[in-house]
Structure formats: C-alpha cells, structure tokens
C-alpha cells in the first residue's frame, strides 16, 4: 500500500477545498459575522490540513494548521475578522495553491516555508490572550463520553490457535501484547490511508498479529470508523498510544494489555479495564498539548455540520480519458449502425423484423450517445468560481470600484470545453475591468453609479451554450480603434471610410492590437483578443461583441454543446454529399428561380417578410452544376445569431447522426468545411460550416 495512489484524489479535493475557501473568504469579507461561513472555512481548512498531513506534505500542513487555529479563535469569538486579516488569508490561499500546483507537477510540495505568512497568522493569534485552552477543554468530555460506550471492540477479535501460541511465545520473550482499537474521525477523507499510517507506525516498533477487519479490507476502506488489532511490542503502553494519536484525524484510541483469559471471561472486568483507560485518556487530554486534542475538537464541530449539509448525489470520479475512450467506442458504434441502416435500405428483400431491429438499434445508440455526452457534461461553475476573487483583486490593484454579477453557473458544457474556456473568460473579464470600466471619478462625473458593474451570464440556447461577458463602462471607442488601425497601417484611411462599425470592432481581434494607451500588467500587452478568439474557434465556437460608447460592451461567446457527434442534414450538391449541422438550420424552403431578387447585385429572397441572402453552394464550392437554370431549388435556411442565409442545394438526403472527424492540418485550408464524417457505405462526406458562409 502506497500513499501515492491517493495523489490524484488529494489534488482534486485540495483544489475543491481551496476554491471553496476562496469563495467563503470573499463572503466573509462582506459579512464578517456570519457563523456559517466561518464554520465552513474552518472545516475546509481543517480538511486540507488533514489531507496534507496524510500525504506527508509538512509545509502545507503547517500553513493550514495555523490558518485553522486563527479560525478556531474566530469561531470562539476571541478574534474579530478585520480587513487586513482577509488580505492575509488570501495570501495564505495563494501560497497553498502554489503548494498544490507544485505537488501536481513534481509530487513535491517545494521548499517554500511561507514563514512570513505563518508569522502574520500567528500575529493575529497572539493578538488575543486565550490560547488553545478553550478548544482543549471542550475535548475532554467528548473523550470520556465515548469511553462509557462499553466493551473494547478489539476483544471481539477471534483468536485462532496460531495467534494464541504467538502471543504466548511473545510473553515468554518479555514482549507485551496489547489489544488496540483505533477510531478514525467521521470526517476523515482517506480512511484507508490513515489506517495505513497507523499500521506503519506500529510496525516500526513491533508486530501486528491480527487485525479486524483483515488488512486487505482495511486497505480497501471496507470498514466503518474503527478497526482493531492485536499488537506485540516491547515498547511501554503510553508510547504506543501516543504514537497512534500522532497520526492526524484519529479520533481516539482504546488499548490495553491483552490477557488471554479475558477473551473468555465476563463483562465486569472489561468495563473496569475501560474505565481505567478512560481516566488515562482524560489525563492526556487535559494537559492541552496532546496531539489528539486539536484534532478531536473539530470532529465534534463537524458532526454538527454534517447534519446541516445538503445531501449530495452519489458520484464517482472518472478519468476523462476513460470517457474519451467510451465516446470513441460510441462513435464507432454509430458508424457501424449507419452502415447497417444503409445496407438494409439496399436490400429490397429485407423483411420487416430486420428493419424493426435496426430501428431499435438506432434508438439505443442514440440514447447511449446522449448518456455518454451527459456524463461528460459538467457545470461551468467550476471555472466561474475563481472569478469573484479575481475581480476583487483587480478592484484593489486598479483602484476602481467594481462588482461582478454572475448567472447561470449551473449551465453544463462538455468537460473539455469547460477546461479550455477559463482563460478566454478570464481575459474578457480583465479587459472589462481594465479597459471597460472607468475610474470612480469619471463615473461620478458621468452620472453613473461609482461602482462599475461587470456581468457574466451563461445559458443554453438550443444546441449552443451562450456566455455573455460585459460591463457598464465606457464601451469601445470606434474612432480610437479606427485611428489606431490607420496609424499602425493595419488599414488605410480609405478602407476605414468604407468599414462598418462592426468591421472596425472586429479589428480588435487581430493579433497584436491593443487600444490601451498604457500597457498595464492587467491586460493590454497586445496578446489578447486574438488569443481569445482563436481559443474559442478551436472549440468550434465564436465570439462577437456589441458595444455602445459610454454605456458599455458585451462580448458574446457561442459554444456548441457537443464536439464529437451531431445530428446533421445530408444534402447533395452536384455529385457531392455534404452534411449541415441541424443546430444551425432554421427551415427548408422550395424556391422558384423567379423568387430570387437582386439587391446591391447580391441574390436575395423575401421569405415571410425577411430578406435573406442566397448562397449558391455549387458556386462557392466550385461544383459543376447539374441542374437547369429554371428548375425549382431547395434552399436550406441557416442562422447565425440573429442573421439568416439561404443555402441552395440540389437535393436533400435526410437526417443522420454523424461523427465529426478532423480533416487534419494538411488540408484544413477551407474555412467553409469544418470537418468530415464517414458515411454508412464507407464514403467520406464533408461537413459544411454554415457559420463560415455568412
């Protein structure tokens, strides 16, 4: 058994706790008296400490320990939360994050002791006169109470003849044999790891003869909160007890020398024995410095908390790679199903049962695909939670007043998208904070609320997820952008004349284009919006900006829900087959050539009052037309945001589930083609990116 197998769980959970701490401390800043928040912080800090301890990360443990101490005092009401304390706590979190990321990269926590932060924490602590005494006092009754529960569980261990003879032999050699029952704290996250540490400690100075449950079960965490062992050692009794208690998150230890006859005799003796034991424990506890005390006190607290905690859904952590494998298999299955479908269409003799079975298979694969997709979906929340903290820091750094409002944190996206979307969002938020919002004085002069508003809204819209990031700041100064572009030679003055406002705003997405007059370390090094755009496009998404000078700007990111498998409409153009994502299709219309009108030498149709531009696919894709000029045409109406366009195709072939494959970088030159897919008959069809046609 090796602790390293817990590393991943440790990293995951540490990150969660840190995130939680960030959120809670922010809340604490708003409401310094909120006991729920304080308790939550205490709990998170405590769990972090426990986990760091289990994994043997001493420095991380020391830091969280001091943090926990501070909160223990806050909870007892002996320290009040002050602004400078919040700052120190945030520094503390940054330091912890550093440890965690260093552990993630090298499995080592690094050598930074963060003494300065620890000293600051201790200074906070020393500002009060009550030390750890109150915590220690509380502990004593708890321990005593537990002792009265009755017989020591280790006495229930069944000894076989071999064990008995081993024990007897040990006695003869002058070694003592003890029965020990160890209670792990209810809140303990890595019970198996804890008990492993206990076993390891004990094995250093003796021999474990038998345990209940057996070692294998303990390793597999197949035990409740306690486990018992018969242990053989020449060390004195107290030393052993203390050694076990040195392992953190151990609630209590019951132990006494084994008397072989005891396994047969009555309860009376047992009770007497355990009372003795309880007294001993009490002595230990009241001297206040016993390692068990600081740990045991929170356990009482946590029991209380556990009740208030909402019931969590049962979850399993799964490696994303395993899900990818599953997803690929589903893709293969769908391709296989598609070829069955096309085979059955060819076989005219195919009987009805065969077709029914194929339809059944079709519905099963579709459901399977949906479930796998859902498994991969995670709420975007995990990315968003770090932003309030960031805005708070930016607010201080930039000396502007701002408030972040977020909605739709529970909007779900594919895990891979969620992992990638953090940076672009962070960039847009920084942009809003730095360039968008004006300083408090300017805002006052303009008659705006001194505190600027930054918002982030996420919501689902059909097959897309929309994330809007914006502010009520100054908006984008179109003229400034235009002048800058001309000055830089990006565009000429004549070109600028003919550009719409939207075209000019789009210039911002070009590489190395920043309108900030001064380069700050917040944003505006010229590596910005172009990176945002390319990242979002890499996720098959798009980003748009709406801006109004003086009133603010809104950046809208549109992302597809799924990346790998989509429902598509198959169309024929000439002799070639193309797939169009159903998500972007609005309607399908039959149009006679007479309905096509010319507006500004562009073909349009008037569809129920909407003037829609027409795109002849055969022309843009260089396909030999097979249809006569006067035949009626099939037009697929596609939408991009609020805009519509009509795509002229020769023939509709029906709807199909397709697996998106990349064209590869050698041939990925055509913006209108977003990928390829393999049809049931093994043929490759290209996927048309309707958005690129606009």
């Amino acid at each position: 058994m090796d602790v390293s197998q817990y590393l991943e769980i440790f990293l995951d959970e540490s990150k969660e706790h840190l995130q939680n701490l960030n959120t809670q401390i922010l809340e604490l800043e708003q409401d310094s008296e909120n006991m729920d928040v304080i308790n939550e912080i205490f709990r998170a800090a405590h769990s972090l400490k426990g986990m760091a301890g289990t994994m043997g990360y001493k420095r991380m443990q020391a830091l969280t320990h001091d943090m926990e101490n501070v909160f223990s005092e806050v909870r007892n009401g002996t320290i009040k939360v002050k602004a400078n304390m919040i700052d120190i706590l945030f520094q503390c979190l940054d330091a912890l994050e550093e440890y965690v990321s260093s552990i993630q990269e090298t499995t080592d926590e690094g050598t930074n002791d963060n003494e300065a932060i620890i000293k600051m924490l201790n200074d906070i602590l020393n500002g009060t006169d009550t030390g750890e005494a109150p915590a220690a006092k509380k502990e004593a009754p708890v321990a005593a109470e537990a002792k009265e529960e009755g017989a020591e569980p280790w006495k229930k261990i069944k000894l076989g003849s071999t064990e008995v003879s081993v024990i007897k032999a040990a006695r003869e050699k002058g070694n003592e044999v003890y029965g020990i029952t160890v209670y792990v704290q209810e809140s303990c996250l890595l019970k198996a790891a804890r008990s492993f540490l206990v076993f390891k400690t004990l094995e250093e100075s003796g021999e474990i003869i038998v345990s209940d449950p057996v070692v294998q079960d303990i390793e597999d965490e197949k035990f409740d909160l306690d486990f018992s062992i018969i242990y053989l050692s020449d060390e004195p009794f107290e030393t052993i007890i203390n050694k076990i208690k040195n392992v953190s998150e151990i609630d209590k230890v019951i132990a006494s020398p084994v008397d072989l006859s005891e396994f047969d005799i009555e309860e009376e003796e047992v009770i007497e024995n355990s009372k003795e034991e309880a007294d001993e424990e009490n002595e230990d506890m009241t001297d206040g410095k016993a390692p068990g005390t600081t740990v045991a006190a929170p356990s009482k607290q946590e029991k209380k908390q556990a009740v208030a905690k909402p019931i969590v859904n049962r979850t399993v952590r799964v490696d994303i790679e395993k899900l990818d494998v599953l997803m690929n298999l589903v893709s293969e299955l769908i391709i296989a199903k598609n070829s069955l479908v096309s085979a059955s269409a060819v076989e005219e003799t195919a009987n009805t049962t065969f077709n029914e079975q194929i339809e059944y298979l079709e519905s099963v694969t579709t459901n399977l695909h949906e479930s796998v997709m859902k498994v991969r979906m995670v709420p975007i929340e995990s990315v968003l939670t770090k932003f309030p903290r960031m805005i708070r820091d930016l607010s201080k750094k930039l000396d502007k007043k701002m408030e972040l409002y977020m909605t739709g944190e529970d909007t779900e996206l594919d895990r891979t998208v969620v992992d990638e979307i953090g940076d672009p969002l962070m960039h847009l938020l920084r942009n809003s904070a730095d360039h968008g919002l004006e300083s408090a004085e300017v805002r006052r002069a303009k008659g705006k609320n001194e505190t600027g508003t930054i918002f982030l809204n996420a919501y689902q819209d059909g097959n897309n997820v929309i994330i809007e990031v914006g502010d009520d700041g100054n908006g984008i100064d179109i003229e400034a952008v235009k002048n800058k572009a001309i000055e830089r030679g990006t565009i000429t003055a004549e070109q600028a004349e003919n550009m719409t406002d939207k075209d000019i705003v789009d210039l911002l997405f070009l590489p190395s284009f920043s309108t900030a007059k001064e380069v700050s370390d917040v944003s505006g090094r010229g590596v910005g919006l172009d990176v945002v755009r390319s990242k979002i496009e890499a996720l098959s998404g798009e980003v748009e900006v709406k801006t109004k000078l003086g009133a603010g700007s809104t950046w809208t990111i549109r992302l597809p829900l799924t990346l790998a498998i989509i429902q598509a409409l198959m169309v024929m153009v000439g002799n070639e087959k193309y797939a169009i994502s159903l998500g972007s299709i609005e309607t399908i219309e039959n149009i006679t050539p007479q309905e096509i009108k010319q507006v500004q030498s562009k073909e349009v149709i008037n569809l129920r009052g909407n003037v829609i531009p027409i795109i002849r696919l055969a022309d843009v894709l260089d396909i030999e037309p097979t249809r006569g000029e006067n035949d009626s045409m099939v037009v697929v109406i596609v939408k991009k945001g609020e805009k519509l366009a009509g795509i002229v195709v020769d023939e509709l072939m029906g709807q199909q589930e397709i697996v998106i494959k990349s064209l590869g970088k050698y041939i990925n030159k055509c913006k209108m083609i977003s990928g390829a897919t393999i049809l049931g008959d093994g043929e490759v069809a290209l996927i048309l990116d309707a958005n690129a046609l606009f």
Binding site: K661, S662, I667, M672, A676, L686
Partner: protein, 150 residues
C-alpha cells in the same frame, strides 16, 4: 565485421514509379500502402490535394505526387496505389503513385547526395540511389509535404 557495417549503414526504400522515373521513399516513414479508392474532393484547397479518403475509420488527406511535381494529371490504373506516409509528429497523409515496385536496401556508398539546382521539381529529391543499372531518386518527404512557397 562486415555484417556490423551493414546494419549500421543501410537504409530500406520502397521503390515507386511515377511516369518513367523511379523514386525511393524511406520505409520508416511509410505507414501503409492501399489500393486506389474513392476520394472525396475538398473544395478550395491547392489542386494537388485530391481530397480525403476513409482509411479504416480515419479521415486521411490524399495528394497527387504528379501534380505536386508539376507533371500531367494522374491516370488511375490497376497499379495505382496510395502510400500513407507518417512523418514523426505529423498525422498521416496519402500520396498517389503510379506503381509500387519493390523494396531495396541501399548502403550509404550507393547513395549520392544531390546539390540543389534551380529546377523546382528537383528540390523534392535529396539524393540518387544506384541499384544494379537503374537509378532511384530518393524523395525528400519534408519538401514534398511542405506548403509551396507562394
């Protein structure tokens, strides 16, 4: 002694034919050789890209070596093959050739490095191998697969 030398200094090439010329492709870059099959055209790409094929569930781009070298259009016959090439770090790409002939083992002494001349199509060849009485132009795959300078 001789044997050791052989192991160290030889390279295996697959000999292909384009028109009347023989070319050699280093065998270590060859992933697969498949028969001609239906190719799906991809619009708006250089002419020498014939499109994409389905290679056991993977979509692989295919280019015409003839067009890339500035020769006349391919004529597909029953000897036409697509050679799937994988350079390290790159994804697979298919190259259409008229015929695949054989595998030859060349020793370093049999390979004569070419100094580049100005003729554009010659820059795809880095050396010439001499086997018996025939000459094999050894293809520089990096140059073949690279984008032409605009």
């Amino acid at each position: 002694m001789d044997e050791v030398k052989n192991i160290v200094d030889t390279t295996q090439f697959i000999v292909i034919k384009i028109g009347n010329e023989q070319f050699g492709i280093d065998i270590k870059f060859i992933d697969n050789i498949v028969r001609m099959q239906s190719i799906t055209r991809v619009p708006k790409v250089p002419e020498y890209f014939k499109g994409v094929i389905n290679l056991r569930g993977e979509v692989i781009p295919v280019m015409s070596l003839r067009l890339k070298m500035g020769l006349e259009l391919d004529e597909y016959t029953k000897t036409t093959r697509i050679i799937i090439i994988k350079l390290e770090q790159h994804e697979g790409i298919g190259v259409i050739v008229d015929e695949v002939k054989e595998v030859v083992t060349l020793e370093t002494e049999q390979i004569e490095k070419l100094s580049y001349d100005k003729d554009e199509k010659q820059t795809f060849v880095y050396g010439v191998g001499k086997v018996d009485n025939s000459l094999i132009s050894l293809l520089d795959l990096n140059a073949v697969l690279a984008e032409p300078q605009a």
